[in-house]
């Protein structure tokens, strides 16, 4: 299988990730719950993950809350900032992990900036929406469907200037673009551990600078007499037993990303994107590409996108089709009725594999003719 679905999860991970998972399973008990060696080993494993994340994302270790997924982190962040009826400005490219929690809270969702790959429009419309009044803003760094890199530094500055708290969804950018909590001035940044950070599924990180409100309540191994959750981060947001093997693996993924360098990872992935976009265009397919694009591209054939992806799967290529849990993004691009086939490049895809994919896609385009 040639794996081109890094937007969903990383598949080929550095070998030290699975080794660390196994080591943690064999040596760690419950972190923060005991003084014996196996409990202390678990606490060290978890803290190493916080330290590795803090080093990569410009924050303190205790600002790193360990979650089960980016979605989990976004739910905590939204639950902390948004109240029923709040007016919340979002970009035109949000995932259901943002819009569904907002919908559940009966927030007034204001979608701002729907033009793909157009920073000028994104910034102008976003600014207007903030000026009309907002209790919070939530925006993605990179569209999971189209790879559009939003101008998040400018959007963050606009929020800061107006005193509007904001959440950044770094699901598609952590590990391949710079993400810095303090420099950006975000209240929260949520990210998965298993995509660009190369950790195991079931891991995620929430970087916290804003006031937090627990989503779950329970034991934290600290201040046990109190019936309120402890005030301190990260324990305030981490009741229950943590996924120690998962975070052991994630630590290795974080260290790998740090060693290799985010800029280098982006450049390598982007070379594949450029080759892929040019090839798909040569085939006469409808390709959604432009400036400010991460290593993800969507395209359409005249046939059904799911059938197209199934044909590619039969030839050994793993890509994703459909609406990608992001109806707002498809609405923005005018692809809600058809969906798209998405190709997303992660670490380690070779130019030869990209060429092989294009040969497979050429059969797809011939089939439709």
């Amino acid at each position: 299988m040639i794996y081109l679905d890094a937007g969903a999860t990383s598949f080929h991970k550095p070998p030290e990730v699975s080794r660390a998972v196994l080591r943690a399973m064999n040596t760690c008990a419950n972190p923060g719950r005991g003084g014996y060696e196996a409990a202390a080993a678990a606490s060290r494993t978890v803290y190493a993950c916080r330290e590795a994340a803090a080093g990569l994302f410009d924050c303190l270790p205790e600002q790193v809350v360990l979650t089960t997924s980016c979605t989990h982190g976004l739910n905590i962040a939204i639950h902390s900032l948004v109240r029923p009826g709040s007016r919340v400005v979002v970009s035109g490219f949000e995932h259901n992990a943002v819009t569904r929690p907002l919908h559940a809270l009966q927030a007034q969702i204001v979608v701002a900036g729907r033009k793909l790959f157009n920073w000028e429009d994104t910034l102008a419309v976003f600014g207007q929406a903030l000026d009309a009044g907002a209790e919070a803003a939530v925006f993605t760094h990179v569209s999971n469907v189209f790879g559009y890199i939003l101008p998040v530094e400018q959007m963050a500055a606009m929020c800061r200037e107006r005193g509007i708290p904001f959440i950044l969804d770094a699901a598609q950018s952590a590990g391949s673009l710079p993400v810095e909590l303090n420099r950006l001035g975000a209240d929260f940044i949520a990210m998965p551990g298993h995509k660009g950070l190369l950790g195991p599924q079931g891991t995620g990180l929430l970087l916290c600078a804003g006031e937090v409100r627990p989503l779950l309540y329970g034991g934290t191994g600290s201040a046990s007499i109190m019936q309120e959750m402890p005030e301190d981060l990260p324990e305030r947001l981490e009741p229950g037993t943590l996924n120690v093997p998962g975070y052991g693996g994630l630590t290795q993924g974080l260290r790998y990303v740090k060693r290799r360098g985010v800029d280098r990872i982006f450049r390598e992935e982007h070379r594949n994107l450029e080759r892929c976009v040019a090839g798909l265009k040569r085939l006469g397919l409808e390709v959604f590409a432009g400036e400010h694009q991460a290593a993800t591209v969507s395209f359409r054939t005249e046939g059904d996108c799911e059938e197209g992806a199934a044909l590619l799967a039969k030839q050994g290529f793993a890509v994703r089709a459909g609406l990608h849990c992001a109806p707002f993004a498809h609405e923005s691009a005018g692809t809600l009725d058809t969906g798209t086939i998405r190709v997303s490049f992660g670490c380690g895809v070779t130019p030869g594999q990209t060429e092989a994919f294009l040969r497979a896609a050429s059969k797809l385009s011939l089939d439709r003719r």
Binding site: G32, G35, S222, I225
Partner: protein
């Protein structure tokens, strides 16, 4: 050289305190806070050996690691709380 115990509200704060002090050459180790020292129940503490507890406390403050209490272990083994 005196033996001291600094208590923290959580394992994470204790761990960061451990990093700060060890990184500054102050030898310390993390362990579970004795029950009598922590009225809120369940916490972590650093045992450290230093001539200058004021420096250790200042380092933790500078690095924004909140402490709960500091105890000095006297020669007879008794623990005496000292002001944070």
């Amino acid at each position: 050289m005196g033996s001291y115990v600094i208590t923290f509200r959580s394992v994470t704060l204790g761990q960061r305190g451990e990093r700060v002090l060890n990184g500054s050459g102050i030898r310390c180790s993390l362990y579970r806070t004795p029950r009598w020292m922590e009225e809120q129940g369940c916490g972590y503490a650093l045992r450290l050996w230093t001539k200058d507890i004021s420096r250790a406390a200042a380092l933790l403050r500078e690095n924004q690691v909140p402490m709960r209490r500091i105890y000095l272990q006297k020669t007879d083994g008794q623990m005496e709380e000292v002001p944070v």
